[in-house]
């Protein structure tokens, strides 16, 4: 995909002759260069996972969270510019809170996605605003069951069975397509997501990373929460073992 839009890429209010808005495409590049974020919708819930790249050994473990609760029944995983992502989450929280206070019930996930997408799109319409440099994967559970949505910097939002953004998205998407999601429970989903993230992590290019996992499912009482510590350790161990086995195989082939 050609990258330079010479002359038509200075403002988000300018179209190029072939109908593209380059500023939005550049914003998407920010997302493409960030750590992988994966979301899958299982039989009984949604699992979100983030490959949180650690730029410095000085960072406290567990800080700089990339998965945020939006309300009790929904959560968002953020890829791209962290500060932009935080703003989107803040807006989502405010929408959810306002909906509850107005209508007396938890905001349906579709509605929440719609509101967030509207807001993200808004910032692509004016020359004095810049587009958000982050995409979010929204997972939630309402009376229509578990749902997974992804909102891109252009403001486009679709509903997915499985979604991936960031560096390793191509490999992650291929791996997700192989999963039988409609038969999987979230417990199995956690292991699958951890495996995928460990798989797509490029040890050569990036140094350390921390795995962040969250779920919203029947087992968590339809509430969005970080995966319990014991399940997280289990998933990490299984994913690491799978990755080591894969590396071994690849090592042998190279010889």
């Amino acid at each position: 995909m050609s990258s330079i839009g010479t002359g038509y890429d200075l403002s988000v209010t300018t179209f190029s002759p072939d109908g593209r808005v380059f500023q939005i495409e550049y914003a998407t590049k920010a997302v493409d260069n960030s750590g992988t974020v994966v979301g899958i919708k299982c039989k009984d819930g949604v699992v979100l996972g983030v490959e949180k790249l650690i730029p410095s050994k000085m960072l406290l473990e567990g800080s700089n969270r990339r998965i945020h609760a939006v309300h009790k029944h929904a959560g968002m995983a953020v890829a791209g510019l962290a500060a932009d992502g935080r703003q989107i989450v803040a807006r989502a929280r405010s929408e959810a809170s306002q909906y509850l206070s107005f209508y007396g019930e938890d905001i349906p996930i579709k509605e929440l996605c719609d509101r967030v997408a509207r807001y993200v799109h808004l910032c692509t319409l004016y020359w004095w605003l810049r587009p958000f440099g982050s995409a979010t994967i929204l997972g939630g559970y309402d009376r229509d069951g578990p749902q997974l949505y992804m909102i891109e910097p252009s403001g486009v939002a679709y509903r997915y069975f499985g979604a991936a953004i960031g560096k390793g998205r191509q490999a992650a998407k291929t791996a997700i397509e192989k999963l039988k999601l409609s038969e999987m429970t979230c417990r199995e989903g956690i292991l699958a997501v951890a495996k995928i993230i460990y798989e797509v992590h490029d040890e050569a290019k990036d140094k350390a990373f921390e795995l962040e996992l969250s779920w919203v499912c029947d087992e968590s009482n339809k509430q969005h929460q970080r995966v319990p510590a014991d399940l997280l350790e289990e998933a990490k161990a299984a994913a690491k073992a799978a990755k080591d086995a894969l590396d071994e195989d690849e090592g042998m082939d190279a010889d």
Binding site: R65, H68, A69, V70, H71, K72, R93, S97, S101, Q225, R226
Partner: protein, 230 residues
């Protein structure tokens, strides 16, 4: 100036007393489930005890709609606190302070939330029981009561409450006071709820009734000591 609507004159639907005591493992709160519309006992299933988060319970007497507004505010507070997900949770002391600020600020605007609030909770082993009134007076104690409970129940608490009571002793003491309130407070009904908060969690009982005895000697000739009254 002066175009502000003054809603501070009088409450419409009110709840009667709330009682609260500390016991060995936590806090017990009790109240009846009546909502009075002036002198009519209009609503008989009003829940005046609510759980706030995982470690606090709130009981209110006074205007029921204001109590509902307060619980909405607290729900928002608790959800926001929950979303931080940082291992820290708002405890009863923090909520007490928050409610105090809300009540005091409303009173300063001459538009009070017409409630007396009883808040009880336990966090990291520390028990807390306190009260916030509609003018923002707040304090903590081993036993508290609102409204008529102050006059009828607290003397009994002062005589019979002791440190580290068991759950059974605490419930018995509260039931004794609830019964007295039912006999003597015209806005009380024989339908009560009790809330219990310990480190293990919060339970709020289903409404229950107490055995009443109208054959007591003192009821036979009620004006014996005060001729001419009724």
């Amino acid at each position: 100036m002066g175009s502000v609507v003054r809603c501070d004159r009088y409450p419409y639907v009110t709840g009667s007393s709330v009682l609260g005591i500390k016991y060995k493992d936590g806090i017990l709160l009790a109240s009846d489930t009546a909502g009075c519309y002036g002198s009519t006992v209009r609503y008989k299933s009003v829940e005046r005890l609510k759980r706030i988060g995982d470690n606090t319970i709130l009981g209110a007497s006074g205007e029921i709609s204001d109590f509902q507004a307060i619980t909405n505010l607290l729900d928002e507070l608790i959800t926001e606190d929950w979303m931080w997900d940082d291992g820290n949770k708002l405890g009863p002391f923090e909520i007490h302070n928050y409610l105090n600020r809300v009540m005091y600020n409303r009173r300063n605007k001459f538009d009070p939330l017409w409630n007396s609030l009883v808040l009880g909770g336990i966090k990291k082993g520390k028990k807390y029981l306190g009260m916030v009134s509609m003018i923002g007076v707040h304090f903590q104690d081993n036993h508290v009561a609102t409204g008529f409970g102050n006059h009828l129940a607290r003397p009994i608490f002062r005589d019979e409450w002791k440190e580290d009571m068991t759950l059974e002793e605490g419930v018995k003491l509260l039931e004794k006071c609830l019964l007295v309130l039912f006999y003597r407070d015209r806005s009380a009904i024989n339908k009560f709820q009790m809330a219990n908060v310990t480190e293990g969690g919060i339970t709020i009982t289903e409404p229950f009734a107490l055995k009443v005895n109208w054959e007591l000697e003192a009821f036979r000739n009620p004006t014996k000591g005060a001729e001419g009254s009724w």
